[in-house]
Amino acid sequence: MSAAIELKPVPQQIHTISLFVNNVPGVLVRVALVFSRRGFNIESLVVSPGAEGRFSRMTVTCSGEPEVLEQIIKQLAKLVDVVHAVDHTGDSAYETEIALIKIEAPLAERTEILQVAEHFKSRVVDYGSESMILQAYGSSEKLDALISLLRPYSIAELVRSGKLLMARGKSAT
């Protein structure tokens, strides 16, 4: 009998990191390289202008062990073009995401789809004879649930914004 080896699962948590960066060429690559050098996959990434044009905001979600993430955040913060980097995992931050879902369903099948859509407070933003587009927003988990309910109705295309996040109260994002 071979010895039983106990495999401890490595804690893999989804982390949400927000970065406040200089709005200059190359900053996205510099940030991405901190992840890719360790073979880390970025799950989602949102880049948008900050309140002042000179800065941009990035929200990154990725999974990995906490120690490695700690190092990644420090290395991000060290980049000259990164003003600050904050891991919001576990914070009570407000989070939201938008999804556009194109469904190719014949008109006859749509009643059920529309019911699901309504339940999730999503809107129909395009309605054609062969396909329709739903727009939904909410927490990433809520969107995951909606999408899995819609899977049986052949989702033709899916576009998600990636997670948007803002710290509540006086704490900085």
Partner: protein, 583 residues
């Protein structure tokens, strides 16, 4: 003519003539206090080379851009001032990549200015276009692509500020040819506005107080000194700290020279090829305090066995180093010198007599040694070089066995007198770094200790040394092997030699002479003193070829990924398992 087409009188015209972007950049370099630029020209960088004609900055024309980058690095490490490189686009720029990595890994302030195709051709595969900022992102501290001549003064100021402050490192500035050639009317810029860039200075008082408390409680304290101590000039403060604490000092390969290695409390270099007594002290201490070291894997070996049970304190100017390799009990973010100076008043004379006695016992039991028989040994030559130079000379090394022997036998007495490629381990570094160090220190003697393998990677810089009549000396430890590789093959690969024999080496004496450089040869141990002295006293470059025994090994050795308990003091009688460490 002015913009409305009026003819201006010539006096007025020359008053109003704007500098070109290239001229502006060179003026900015002058304002930064640059004395030398190391480089090699090409189409895209010609506006800057042209501007150098009228500048007091001296151009050092190298034979290869890698050489230029290592020269700037050697200049920077020897002087503490930034080294500047000027090269063309495409291949000129890519030839600096190894030098950038070398400087980044060892925190050397180097500013590399690269030519680039004209802005309208960027991204269109223009002649000698390369995405140089893209290629170099992972090997620079920061970089810029100048798209607008008005940004020149700000970018050059920022580049020097970033390269030299905090944890220093290389900064690259990519300059399209039209920016270098076109006019620039931007005023000089002195202000720095980098909201994302903070430089730590003094350590937090609580962390310093806690460190003082732990140091007072320690029975067997040990100070581990790294490159950060060299950069910040912390050596004097560390020596005082060691004397007050009566704590032994060990250094990393790059920390050599921060504290005088002949000081009775100094146990020499730690790590893979460190002295046995330094490593025994590391294993035996109850408190280890890193001052500007980063717990490199060549230092710690197997982490699970490293200083288990000892209190760990980590002083670093780079917060990203904390918790990277080890989790210290206390970390102090700050400049090494300032932190140690702030710590000193809180330290009382400690009684560590037993601990120091133990360290001295190790020192007596396991001295560095080598066989005096069987021909000329590298260790003997380096021992004699140490006796000759007495720590007065700047010693640079290449990478391999000779580097480790030099680290063991050439005891560094003062800061910035020991220059070696540690983090990157770049063969080809030693000789050009010595040239750079010599430019920065015209009154000092500089010796490059190199292997026959690595020297051949950048030896064309003999021409640079010759033209500038630099009194730089090169000591080639010629074993006709890639010696360090052969050692590993012998020890860990059943002596199955694979690509380590340098059969076909040239006669290095004749080679040097072909460049017009004086060259001498040491064949017998008894000749070492006389020949080294002759080279030392020669006014101009001199190459000394030491024809050493071919198959010698560096000991002590802690195999990569092993612990101090597995340290080999001498050649093992049995075969060894392949090392598990990083390389």
């Amino acid at each position: 003519m002015d913009s409305r087409g009026n003819i201006l009188d010539t006096q007025e015209e020359s008053d109003q003539k704007l500098p070109t972007g290239g001229e502006k950049i060179i003026q900015c370099l002058e304002r930064e206090g640059v004395e030398y630029v190391f480089g090699l020209s090409g189409g895209a960088i010609m506006p800057l080379f042209d501007a150098l004609v009228d500048s007091k900055i001296q151009l050092v024309l190298t034979r290869h851009e890698q050489g230029a980058t290592h020269m700037a690095d050697g200049y920077a490490r020897a002087t503490g001032r930034p080294g500047v490189v000027l090269v063309t686009s495409g291949p000129g720029a890519t030839n600096t990549v190894t030098g950038l990595l070398t400087a980044l890994m060892d925190s050397a302030p180097v500013v590399v200015l690269t030519g680039q195709t004209i802005t309208s051709m960027l991204g269109k595969d223009a002649f000698q276009e390369a995405d140089v900022t893209g290629i170099t992102y992972p090997v620079v501290k920061h970089s810029y692509l100048i798209k607008n001549a008005a940004d020149i003064p700000r970018i050059i100021r920022e580049a020097f500020h970033v390269a030299t402050s905090g944890r220093p490192g290389p900064v690259l500035v990519d300059i399209p040819k039209d920016i270098g050639q076109g006019p620039c009317d931007a005023p000089f810029c002195d202000e720095i506005d980098l909201p994302g860039y903070e430089v730590a200075t003094r350590g937090a008082p609580e962390a310093i107080a806690e460190t003082a408390r732990l140091l007072r409680a320690a029975k067997r304290p040990l100070l581990y000194v790294g490159q950060g101590a060299v950069i910040s000039g912390a050596g004097k403060a560390i020596t005082t700290l060691a004397e007050k604490l009566r704590a032994p000092v060990v250094t990393t390969l790059l920390g050599k020279g921060a504290v005088d290695e002949t000081h009775p409390l100094h146990l020499g270099m730690m790590g893979m090829h460190g002295t046995a007594y330094a490593n025994k002290a590391v294993a035996g201490c109850d408190l280890i305090m890193s001052i500007g070291g980063r717990w490199d894997d060549r230092i710690t070996g197997r982490l699970s066995d490293f200083c288990t049970g000892a209190v760990k304190i980590h002083v670093d100017i780079d917060p990203a180093e904390f918790n990277k390799i080890i989790r210290p009990d206390v970390s102090i973010l700050g400049d090494a010198r300032l932190v140690v100076e702030d710590l000193l008043p809180q330290i009382e004379m400690a009684d560590t007599a037993d601990w120091l006695e133990q360290c001295d016992k190790w020192r007596r039991l396991y001295p560095l040694k080598y066989s005096k028989q069987g021909g000329l040994r590298a260790q003997h030559v380096l021992d004699r070089l140490d006796a000759l130079t007495q720590g007065e000379a700047i010693i640079t090394t290449d990478v391999g066995q000779h580097q480790m022997w030099a680290a063991q036998f050439c005891r560094s007495r003062s800061n910035r007198h020991w220059i070696s490629s540690g983090g990157a381990g770049t063969m080809g570094f030693g000789f050009p770094a010595a040239i750079g160090a010599q430019f920065g220190n015209p009154d000092k003697k500089v010796w490059a200790v190199v292997g026959d393998g690595g020297f051949q990677m950048t030896l064309s810089e003999l021409a640079t040394a010759f033209i500038h009549k630099l009194p730089v000396n090169v000591l080639i430890i010629n074993n006709n092997f890639l010696g360090m590789i052969r050692q590993w093959q012998e020890m860990f690969y059943e002596n199955r030699l694979s690509g380590s024999d340098l059969e076909g080496n040239p006669d290095f004496v004749k080679l040097a002479q072909a460049y017009g450089v004086k060259a001498l040869r040491i064949r017998r141990p008894a000749d070492a003193d006389r020949i080294l002295r002759e080279a030392h006293e020669h006014d101009g470059p001199c190459v000394v070829v030491a024809e050493v025994v071919k198959e010698d090994n560096v000991f002590p050795m802690i195999p990569a990924g092993a612990s101090v308990s597995e340290m080999l003091i001498e050649k093992p009688k049995h075969a060894l398992a392949k090392p598990s460490g990083s390389t």
